[in-house]
Symmetry: C5
Subunit: 307 residues, 5 copies
């Protein structure tokens, strides 16, 4: 908590990584800002955990703001965590709100005194952290895929009213991910093109690599979005088809029995002079008529492929 | 009201801010135009309160036209107020139609003789004012979100005819905001790239900052627009589902009772030779037939998952 | 009609404006083409009144083809009139098919010997004419707005079949306007970037001004197009809602009366052994049954919010 | 057929045009390829009559592949014919599969020894041929318009099932044309920007001219495509409106007669104690009741504007 | 398997092609990486068979990752196989997971000691392999066309529920192909613009050629996608039309017989005073009334073109 002891490090030729947890700790942040001469706007961006991912070059350092995306269970509850990195000449400072263990593997690799991370500069370390963050996006993508496939099966099989709101929530999840990944691609594109002295040429192929990852994630998101759009169409068509089926049932029943009921009604009339009423086989005849009419109707509907 | 007293200021090394209220005051505007040598086209743009936001560089000054957006209550009644800024070597002139208190905070900060605003030039002051304007956009965005969520709940729950016209009005509000924010982004992009001597390099990181805000606002608007499109889809599907339900009710009732009515009609016929009529248990039998047929139908519909 | 007398003007230091009416007058056009050394392709473009608006730079002059849009009454009958301008070193030639009075105000301003138009070159005059043409577009835009609002009210209130073809015609009007305004923006963009000696730097801010007008018109057209798309959606949903209402009426009536009719039919049967027929209060009882059933149904539908 | 006699021409200062008919004639093509030193890839493109239109610059010549589009009768049967042009220093070679008379007019103009075609180089001749090809596109566009208008009238008037497949075929025709015109625009854009010595500066304004034609054709295709999309919407709405009408007819009839039939059924019951049956004016009264009920219903439907 | 023997080749002036099968063979890959000094990121990309197609330039070589697409039978089961190529100064190394015979023809051509492949460098060989891969895409495209046409016929003829899921799967196939072809175009575009010493200028026209193929494939995919979208529309309209037909059948039957049944019901009432019952020709008259009403109805429906 005493910042004075950091001063000798800055001037020293040693490279070091400072991991700051708790971006709401005002005195801590302003202390660090003062020692490392971080621009007031950069500190403001670090403090604001609603910040859009970005890469900004200042005279004495580079600011990179990225977002961790993770989910504890269901894909519809995506959590966001902001990770800001300040890349200087011989130091990397990372800021995060809560402590989490995503970077543990990197710490282990860092302890290896002959590792690439020790040889290359703080920008390479920043790349490694960013790489770990983007690898997590793939985990989310996988879960999105699973959910899409699950919705697919549901849409193909039935048509509960709730399905549509599930699809709606699924789309919202995609939007949330896209909202983070889209500017991430921009960041990486800027990094690739950057001529800052703090982002060395040697790190470029690595950055290019995760740039391609971000492009791939975006493409996959787009493809899933399209699939979802088609799913909604299928869902709506299924509703129409079902309504069709209901209508056909009604029409078949009504078309067969309404005329028969009329005929029955005719012979239920009380006119005094109705010669048929006295015929001996009239009743048998009318039943034959009923049966033949029904058979004819059924044949007609079969021919029209109504059932 | 006498402009002569302004002359000494212009030549002096002091920086000053002139806030002009009432853009319809012709002599005031032409007086200021003459003293500060403002191009006739610039004055025309300032006077026309339907002007699209823009940044234009003249030889002796920079003209920036921005729009305040605010709402007194409901999000569907967005008010627009034009704020034009003329940035010169050592002065900033702002023009507005009505007086409002958005800039009060800035005035207070300006009174601090050691503040950054005093040290940096009039372009920094212009940035500060613009920043305050864009911060107001976030307030609107928040209200838009609330309205979208409210519509979401309504769409999920019911299907009043008025819902669609509410959605329609909501979309119009978005369009109105977009119409202002879109050119605002362009302005800020021009400012970032500008090489005018009146827009100093030192102000650039700040401008970059609000440029990103404008990008973020546009992204959020786009995302909400997408959500609204999906909402309309859900709304229309709900109508279809409801119609389906109505149809099913009709079909179940009709399919059960129309055949039964026919049978009842048959035994209401007045033929002389109808042997069943005299059978002792015919009436009982026909009721058993009615009940069994109905049960069969209900079972059939249950199996088809109609209810 | 004798072209020879024009020759001395061309070589003279005087600026002049030649307004040619009747682009079908072949000898007139070829005469002018010869004197002013207008490229054969330019003359062809002037002659063809179906020409897409454009700006083309030749070695000795600049050709600008624009379209007047106006309507005598209804917005659905837009008239187009081509105005071609040839801007040379010290002359402006305008070609139009029919005489019209749009440029009268400009002629008056031109007569003022101290006016800006006299001081600035023929490109400024061309700008003034173009400005007058674009101002007319706003008149059309206003009429489009009125029509859109009228359609809005109609769609909200009813659903005549003819409404859709009205919307269709309205969209076609928009397309026609867009077809002219879109290339107009391109022209103005080219003019802004042009390095032709005939398009002087001093005119640039003015051109920039009408360029922004054209951008604004296009944005407004896009916004109206979106509104119209939403209107069609609302219209179709209204049809669905109405169908829903019709279906509900049918279903309520049928669901209440079909079962009752069945019961009435049962007691209309002629079986000999129907004990109920002889009960004293059977008829009263059946009416009570009818009333209770109906009340139950009505309660059920009310609970389901069907009416 | 003997190629040797061509050799002296190539070295000569004369310009010439060689029109090759029959791209399947292998020895002919390879002969020409050898004499004029045409790159093997160019020859392959010429031979393949499924080639996408393109302009390619080689060291010693320029290859331009274009497509003739024409139709003998119906717009739905578009024929494609590939015309490849090889533009060299002093020669133009055109390759086509079949002989057709589109270029006859050009041949006549070419015979005029003082014509522009003779003065300007082979690239101008190529432009002339290309211009003739693009003029043919306008003929197709005209036919597309006619078909669109015809479909418009049909959609407005009726709703045969076949209409939709007609629209589908119409869209396919548009796609086919677009598939050719889109790369044609690219070709012309390349030509405009080309710095090849074989495409001279003097021809540029002419190329610019047909470039604009291609842009116009594409814009028109897009506008027609939009119209067609709207037509499909109108068609589907018409189906809905018609269904609405059918439903209303059914509902009116059913809503009026089902309750009346119930009443008639009630008095057809055979209960022994039904006091109304013996009333003198019961039968008259019931008819009055029937008529009043019907009148009330009709009034209700009229008020609801159902017919 | 002993890599040592490769060393002399690398330094030698001979060009050679090394085809590595089995990208999961770790020691093999790391051996090759060491000998040819392949960057660790390149090896990682080669090993990962989910890699997006790409072209990456390293200091000492160029990495090209492409995807073979093929299908054994049905178009809905597309198989993907990754082919990575490493282009060095005098060598080409290809990596594939399984052995397949697509490159057999190339091997044969390679054995010709005077062939173009022997004269030109390893980049030309890479082009040849890539060309063979892209030629296979056309085979898939052909199959896609066949499937689209088959779906077209099915949609025009009937409306099975399964049709929609077939269309859905068809769209997914297109997406899969697009996912590979889209970055392929990018690769080829990079190759065209590349200034790497390993990608020689002489190979450019050939690369340009397959670049155009990839553009064409993408255009065709887009066109088919549009066709499919239209097909879905037609399918949904067919469902509506069919529902219309069902509704009409029901309405015609109900509208004719419901009123007649009412009339029959009226004369089935048991009122004591019903004068018509005793008329001599009442029964005949009512039949005449029935027939005339029906005829009138049928005439009315015919006039309304209901059948």
């Amino acid at each position: 908590t005493s910042f004075l002891q950091l001063h000798p490090f800055i001037a020293s030729p040693y490279k070091f990584w400072l991991n700051v947890i708790g971006i709401k700790n005002e005195p801590l942040l302003s202390g660090i800002a003062e020692i490392f001469e971080i621009h007031s706007l950069a500190i403001e961006d670090i403090r604001n955990n609603q910040q859009r991912p970005k890469l900004e070059e200042f005279d004495n350092l580079v600011l990179l703001i990225s977002k961790m995306l993770y989910t504890k269970g269901n894909i519809s509850e995506i959590q966001t965590e902001q990770v800001s990195m300040v890349i200087g000449k011989n130091f990397l400072i990372t800021f995060q709100e809560n402590e989490f263990d995503l970077f543990d593997g990197i710490r282990t690799r860092l302890e290896n005194p002959l590792g690439k991370m020790r040889k290359l500069g703080p920008d390479y370390l920043a790349y490694t952290l960013f790489d770990a963050i983007i690898d997590e996006y793939y985990v989310l993508l996988e879960k999105l895929y699973d959910k899409t496939e699950q919705l697919e099966d549901l849409v193909m099989a039935n048509h509960h009213k709730s399905l549509l709101s599930q699809i709606y929530r699924h789309r919202k999840s995609m939007q949330e991910i896209k909202k983070v990944v889209w500017p991430t691609r921009e960041i990486l594109s800027s990094w690739k093109k950057s001529e800052s002295t703090f982002l060395k040429k040697k790190t470029q192929p690595f950055v290019n690599n995760i740039y391609e990852h971000s492009v791939e994630i975006i493409e996959n998101l787009e493809m899933q979005r399209e699939s979802i759009t088609t799913l909604v169409e299928i869902y709506m068509t299924n509703i129409s088809l079902r309504q069709n089926e209901v209508m056909k049932t009604l029409t078949i029943i009504a078309t067969i029995f309404i005329p028969l009921t009329f005929i029955a009604g005719v012979y239920g009339m009380n006119f005094e002079y109705m010669p048929e009423l006295e015929w001996k086989y009239a009743y048998l005849g009318i039943w034959i008529f009923f049966v033949l009419t029904t058979a004819g109707m059924v044949y007609y509907f079969k021919k029209k492929k109504w059932f």
